[in-house]
Amino acid sequence: MKGIRLDPGLPVIGVIGLVALWYVAVWFEVVDKVLLPSPTDTFRALWKGMTGGRLGFDFWRTVERTCLATLIAAAIAIPLGIFLGASEKLYRSVEFVIDFFRSTPASAMFPLFLVLFGVGDETKISVAAFGAALVILFNVAYGVMNARKTRLLAAKVMGASRLRVLTDVMLLESLPQTFVGLRNGVSLALVIVVVAEMFIGSTDGLGHRVFEAQQLFAMPDMYAAIFAAGALGYGLNLLFLLVERQFVHWSGK
C-alpha cells in the first residue's frame, strides 16, 4: 500500500469548494438575491469594512471585550483551579456546583448580571468572564488532579517539599490541560460577548454590527461581519495553540 502524504494545501480545497458552490447558488438564484449576495460583494464589504470602515472598529471592540473577559477569567480560575485540584477531596466537594453552573447557559445569566452591573461593558465582560472561568477552572483542576503519580513520587523521593512538588511538578503537569481550558474559555467568551453585543444596549462590537446590518437589510455587510467574527474565533484559537506549542513543548509527548 502506498503511504499517505498529506499536502498542506489540502484545506484550501474546502474553501474553494464552498466559494464555488456559493457562486453557483448566486448564479442560478437558488436563494433570493437579497438574502444571498455574491461572494464578490461580500468580500468587498469585508475588505472595505475592515480597512477604515465601521467593521474594523467593531472588530477591535469585540477583541478587547473577549480578551479582557478571558484575562479576568484566567486570573481567577487558574489559581483557584490549582488550589482546588491540589486536594481531590476539596474538588469533589465543589464539583457539582462547578458542573452545574458550567452547564447553565451563560446567556441565562444576562438578566442577573444586568441587575448587578447595569447595561454597560461590565455586564458583557463579566458574563463572558463567568462562563470562561468555569471552563478554565474545571480544566486546570483536572490537570492538577491528573498529574502523573510517578512524577509526583519522583519529586517526593528526591526530597521535594509539598510546596516544591506543587510548583515544580503539579503546575507544569497541569499546563497542557490548562491550555485546553484557555482555548475553550476564549471561544466561549467570544460567543457570549457577541450575543451580549447584539441584545444588551450596545453601540459597537461585532454582535452589534451583525444585528444592525440585518436590521438595515445590508446583507453584504452582515455576511462580512459574520466572516469577521468567524475569523476572530479561529484566530484566537490558533493564537492559543501557537502559544501552547511554544510553552508546553512536551504536550502529547
Binding site: M158, L172, W250, K253
Partner: protein, 276 residues
Amino acid sequence: MNREGGNARAASAGPAVIAAAGAAGSAHVTIRGLCKRFDDAVVYDRFDLDIPHGKLISVFGPNGCGKSTLINMIAGLIPTDGGEILFEGKPLRDIKFGYVFQNYREALFPWLRSLDNIEYPLKLMKLPKGERKARTERLLAHLGVKLDLRRYPYELSGGQQQLISIMRALVVEPEILFLDEPFSALDYEMTLFMRDQLQRVFVETGTTTVLVSHDLEEAVYLADRILLLSRRPAAIADYVSYDAPRPRTGATLSQQDFVRVKAHCLDVFQREVRKA
C-alpha cells in the same frame, strides 16, 4: 541433587542465618519485623532482612509477591504497617538515596532539558549553580556518558532516558541506590547495554544497590546476592550469594558458576510458585 556450589552458598530462610551472613560484611540496611497489608492481602508479616554494605542485591520472586513493595517501603514511597527499617542505625530521612523508576517516561520531567533533570535533586539540596555543574560534570566523566544533555527527555531513546534517570539518582552521591525493574520497558539490545552501564556504575561507585528484577538472568548476572522471595506473605525463600569477578561479560553467562546459581534460583522459584 545438590546444586549449591562453592560460590553459590545459599543461606536458608530465617533471620538468624541472615544475621550471621551480615556479620561478614556489615549490614547497611536492617529490616526487622516489617508488616504490610493491602486491604485483605497480607504482603509482609514480621519480615526480617539485612542488606550488606557496598553490595548489589537483586530481588526476585513470583508475580505480585511484593518485590517492588519491599523497595518502595525501604525508600519511603509507601508507608509500612509496622516494623523498623534502619540504615546503619539511622532513619531514612537522615540518609541520601537514589531511586530509579521502571517508567522512565513518567519519572523524568519533560519540561526540563536532560541536564536540568539530572541537576534537579541538587537544586532541591539548594546547592549553588557552580557546585551543581561541577557535580554533574564529575558524574558524567565518571560514567563516560556521551549524550547531548541539552535535549529534552522525549527526544531521547528509551535507554537514554533511563540512563538520565539513573544519573539523576546518582548525582546526589547516594549511600544507597534503588532500582525498580529499571530495564523492563526496554528492548533486549538496550537491556544488555544498560545492564553493563549499571554494572559499571556499581563498580565505579561501590554504592549499595537494590535491584528489583523480573528477569532471572539479569538478577543473577548483576548481583552479589540474589534475594528470592516466596509468595504472599513474602518470606525469604533463599538469599543466594554469587561472587563471580567483575566486570562480568557475555561470557559470564555461560560459565559453570553462573549456570549453577541461576539453576538453583530457578529451582527455588519454581518450588515457591508451585506452593500456591
